[in-house]
């Protein structure tokens, strides 16, 4: 049994990172430790500074020469809300991200369940195939879709439906790996076999034993998919562009025109990323908790 080693392919960053969080601890003193902590301080600062700059800018009135803003106000946000395209593009992005999440979940849950319970030999090919979206730059995906469907089924071009299909395809790896790691951690195969020996049908085991334990995988994968689709720009711009403007596309059109409104919109984008990340880390620890409980039971 492979245990909690998971994959070296770290797409399910959350499950892996939660496992690391419980790994053996660090030393407590020494030059290496001090250097390491200094490095982390720099790293944290580098990660946080742009976000702080954006947030501050979005709340400022005038900020041209002084170290800190001359005044604070919510004008940027008022201006953002007053902009015509704001609400429609926000809705479009939300609908798109939700739709992508639904598509990806519908595709991956049956697949991963099937692989772990009925067809383990499909595992390696499915792994490899789920890497395909990662091997293709999204610009290329957009071009390929436009060329292919332009000749095969032109009516689908420039529709949000095509964008949804594309988002679904490129988001699959995130959900797949989250669910895959989840399945391994709960040892789905043994659950299924245990259920079978106790007389349960496969769908009963599925409903009562396996699906309830997919929470962490679904949440971490789901948040990655949602945040990714919400903030995605390349496909949105190249496949539908101004015809169906999502939030990032609108945001990009503003970036050189109106810095204030852009900053407010960026804060919205940051908020989405932050909520997703917090949700991921919180739920990932539940995955770790399950695996640890199993380990303690002495498999």
């Amino acid at each position: 049994m492979k245990g909690e080693s998971g994959q070296t392919v770290g797409w399910d960053v959350a499950a892996e990172s939660s496992a690391v969080a419980a790994a053996p601890g660090p030393a407590h003193s020494g030059l290496g430790v001090s250097l390491g902590r200094a490095l982390w301080i720099v790293f944290v600062a580098y990660s946080v500074l742009p976000l702080i700059a954006t947030a501050l800018f979005s709340f400022s009135t005038r900020w041209m020469t002084t170290v800190l803003p001359e005044g604070l106000s919510l004008d940027s946000y008022a201006a953002m809300v007053a902009e015509g395209p704001f609400l429609p593009s926000l809705l479009r992005s939300t609908v798109l991200a939700s739709g992508t999440l639904a598509v990806v979940t519908l595709l991956c849950v049956p697949l991963v369940t099937w692989i772990h319970i009925r067809a383990p030999r499909l595992g390696p090919p499915a792994e490899v195939i789920s890497l395909i979206p990662f091997a293709l730059p999204w610009v290329v995906v957009a071009l390929a879709l436009v060329r292919f469907y332009g000749d095969v089924y032109p009516r689908i071009l420039n529709t949000p439906f095509l964008l949804l299909l594309a988002h679904g395809a490129v988001s699959i790896p995130y959900m797949y790996w989250a669910l895959d790691n989840n399945m391994r951690a709960i040892n789905a195969r043994s659950l299924y076999e245990a259920g079978a020996t106790l007389g349960a049908r496969w769908d009963q085991t599925l409903r009562h034993a396996i699906l309830p334990n997919l929470g962490p995988g679904l949440t971490t994968g789901g948040m990655l998919v949602f945040a990714g689709s919400f903030g995605e720009f390349a496909l949105s711009r190249l496949l539908v562009g101004a015809g169906w403007q999502t939030l990032p596309v609108w945001q990009a059109s503003l970036i050189n025109r109106d810095a204030r409104v852009t900053s407010a919109v960026t804060v919205v984008g940051i908020a989405v990323a932050v909520s997703a990340s917090v949700a991921i880390t919180v739920w990932a620890s539940r995955l770790r908790g399950e695996a640890a409980a199993d380990a303690n039971e002495g498999r």
Binding site: T8, P26, R37, L136
Partner: protein, 306 residues
Amino acid sequence: MPAAVNSSPTPGSVGASGRVPWKLTAPLEHVGPAGFFFAYLALTLVAPTLYLVWSSVTIDGANFTLERYQRVLTDPFYLRGFGNSIKLSVATALEATLIGALVAAAFTYAMPVRSRKALLTLTNIATNLGGVSLAFAFVALLGTNGMLTIMLRSALGIELYPEFNLASLMGLNLVYLYHLTPFVFLVTLPAFRGIRRQWIEAALTLGATRWQFWRYVGVPVLMPTILAVFILTFANAFGTYSSAMALTVGRVNLVPLQIGFLFGEAAFDKELADALSVLMILMTTACVIFYRIASRRTARWTERTR
């Protein structure tokens, strides 16, 4: 046996259905929902990509030609684009891999366990931030009136502009780094988990210093992974479109941006976009394959077995 079952099987069920789960009863049944999955990927990625490759080497669907590749590879404009993309991607990949691996090491060996969740959340944010938001966040920080620019100007008298410009290769380097370093960190972290504490202790009891352990055992074991992550990061950087586009709007010559610009062009330029894209695909696919091979080599040493 695992104890994670939330409820017991329904009492009164007579027995498993007639099918034996792990025998191949029928090819279609064996494939099952996987069929939908593969069909979806075929329709959205595989078929379009193959079509793209095919159309890049054919004229009117009939004659084989490498003319577009020849045009791309002899055009100084696109060559410069490739050069810029490769330069930028190699540089950012090197930096991100080095820093990211060190950050992962520091995380495993220097940071208190209690802080780990918070730090992981932070790095997740950096990877989940969309390209356009990232681009603007850097404008807010290092643009002509960015926070840091103003601070340097008013507090220290240092004027960044016009020598430094965010919408340049150097500026993009900083932006890419923001996204790539956490990526490297998160992907390298599991490898560090594979460096067993017992190895370190064994080395120390045999009289080695920590430095010697890392030099002769730790780093060699990790090297395939780090190399693989470097390649993967290179592919990631090379294919980046969103933040580059949002930040520079085409003022910097990069291959993904060029493909994007050729999108709405007249027919004869579409073939050029095809050739550019196929070249990109070749590069990134080779990177992913290399990554798979190399990470399996490390897994040989670091996989936990029971």
